[in-house]
Symmetry: C2
């Protein structure tokens, strides 16, 4: 079982690394499971801040038929979705053969651009619901949305919840719970403003200003 | 303000990238704040699975006096702590000048090896409490522990809670809440086994077996 995380320049690091940390436990429990980090080209690609320099040694062409596809988001994902990008082509070509095709945050826009979300419920970062709808999806505010074999997660940190959900589907709830314990995922946020419905208006505006700057 | 995340070969990716995703918002709100990824040497270092290849262009020697130090954990951190490692020297030399010295998961063992935790309450991954105590710390099961200007977080995913706590201390609760909203950190784990006290015994054993294999 090949679990391929698809990267592109400007990716949001936690979108990918949250699920990565969960999914890299699967080979302990599922014989033959293998996590692969891939991108259009080999070499170094940077995250959105140009601070994380990630070395890629596997291309999309090397893994045309992964069993699981996971696509992280990014402030630039919307542009790649609108203008076309190698990762969109990879998603489109791989999807007919996957067991699970998944995204975190605005990675859903890339699934949308690949034509996968038409008429389906899906989620993304709260700041991108309208953009997601433009690809024919029905945006929902759930943390993790399963529609057939497509699973989408909300913004950035939701990738951990998505990957545990996915681990449960792949290896069963016992393994998923063991992974949750291994990464000590017993979240205690010091505040409770992680969703637009929970954040006071001034906090929402403070966050939106930072996001607009990206 | 320099916020330095210290890396070493074999690091656990989420330990570092969880806090990274939170702390990289600080420059939007705190003029002069800057996040730096550093290690003993420049070049590529791998995470514990040799799947994440991280390009480092800043050495410990380049940032001897960061305002904030953050040290991720790893299955190999215990060995580096016991045998000595450049990151332990960096922590020891930097700490007298920091505003906050912090760790995630078994990164606390490296703080311990640097002599920082003697007589202090601190936390680490649940699997490493005894090892932490061997450095004179008082292990606690809290998610995030503040002792003076040392802040330690529990295992792996706790780095997000730690970094939001830290963001609150540095930039105030409004900014921390705005960051929480930006990364949509409204966790909904699909299971509730993220701490030893919550996981049934068979799940605990399943997790321990995987951790022992690391």
């Amino acid at each position: 079982m090949i679990i391929a995380i698809g990267f592109y320049p400007g990716f949001t690091a936690l979108d990918a690394i949250g699920p990565y940390e969960v999914l890299t436990y699967l080979p302990y429990y599922v014989p033959g499971a293998q996590v692969v980090l891939c991108a259009e080209l080999t070499g170094i690609i940077d995250d959105q801040y140009h601070l994380v320099h990630l070395g890629i040694d596997t291309t999309f062409a090397d893994v045309p038929r992964p069993d699981v596809v996971l696509v992280p988001g990014s402030p630039i994902a919307g542009r790649y979705a609108a203008e076309g990008h190698a990762i969109v082509d990879w998603i489109r070509d791989a999807h007919p053969y996957t067991t699970w095709t998944t995204s975190v945050c605005t990675g859903a826009l890339l699934l949308g651009a690949a034509g996968l979300l038409k008429g389906l419920p899906a989620t993304t970062h709260w700041d991108a619901y309208d953009e997601l709808a433009s690809y024919g999806a029905q945006p929902t505010e759930q943390r993790v949305v399963t529609a057939g074999r497509i699973v989408t997660g909300a913004g950035v940190s939701a990738g951990i919840d998505l990957a545990l959900t996915l681990a449960g589907k792949i290896a069963g709830p016992d393994v998923a719970q063991a992974i949750q314990l291994s990464i000590e995922y017993d979240p205690h946020p010091p505040f409770d403003s992680g969703a637009p419905s929970k954040a006071p208006q001034p906090i929402y505006e403070l966050a939106s200003a930072a996001l607009d700057g990206k």
